[in-house]
Symmetry: C2
Subunit: 146 residues, 2 copies
DNA sequence: CTGTATCCCATACGATACTG
DNA sequence: CAGTATCGTATGGGATACAG
């Protein structure tokens, strides 16, 4: 018999992996920014200063209420967004970028600049790559976070 | 009966969503960089110029052969990495950053700088947030992409 | 050496319905 | 208005085994 069950080995390997990943701030930050709505939400908040839940929902088409809340909670937990509750008749909840969150915006801007300049190249590369296997057209480019 | 089945509505909604997301290069770029191994692989290639599959596997602890290939394929499809096959006895496959891939590295560097400076703050915020619900210690910080 | 096939799990995301 | 609960799906990632 082996010294570990498959499950034990899995757990050990995962722990080892996590330990390594723990050592990489960049990967961890990318995991945050890589969430579908993160850059969009941060950008909207940076533009408007303070926004309520409903306004954010309107400002970000396609997001569901659940995921909006979930995303904002994650950003709050990360210290990027501050949540302020006003106990009025229907409660009012305001979201604002923290100082930490604001400090991240130049990074997002840098990412956006590259994206606006070069994502068409990426799309073209994808089109070319896929064309070498089937026949699929490529959609038109557009501005970021419009 | 309704004009659409639930599945049709789902498909339509997804199409609408995709159409919107299609318009956001930043989100699309973040989706690429947000993949677990993307920044790590790009960084290793930027450091070493050209690397073989096995060397990359050694340079990136924790990644499985399957996911390494999968990740490299995605980067190749995106035009960020070039794959060159040398038909020797055991085939030799080399991976290199393309010009497009190299142009992305300053962006990654910007992200890394912020991460090295501020991820400890994020970790601290997480610790504080979680401490308000249970009792969980926070691990120590470390340098990026070491 | 490089890559594929298979199976499995965790999680992000989304639809819907419901509460204070 | 803001948020939660529940359910379902899609996908990324990983283990293992195998092939060119």
């Amino acid at each position: 018999m082996p010294t570990m069950t498959a499950e034990q080995r899995r757990a050990w390997a995962k722990a080892e992996f996590d330990a390594y990943m723990e050592t990489c701030p960049t990967s961890r930050l990318m995991a945050v920014l890589g969430n579908k709505w993160t850059t969009m939400l941060l950008t909207r908040l940076a533009e408007n200063g303070t926004m309520r839940h409903a306004r954010l929902a309107r400002a970000v088409p396609g997001i569901s209420a659940k995921v909006l809340t979930q995303s904002l909670r994650a950003l709050e937990r990360d210290g990027l967004v501050a949540r302020h509750v006003t106990a009025s008749v229907p409660v009012q909840v305001d979201y604002t970028l923290t100082v930490l969150g604001e400090s991240l915006m130049p990074v997002v801007a840098t990412v956006r600049q590259w994206a606006d300049r070069h994502m068409p190249d990426v799309e073209a590369a994808r089109g070319a790559y896929d064309a070498a296997r089937a026949g699929d057209p490529v959609p038109a480019p557009a501005r970021s976070l419009g």
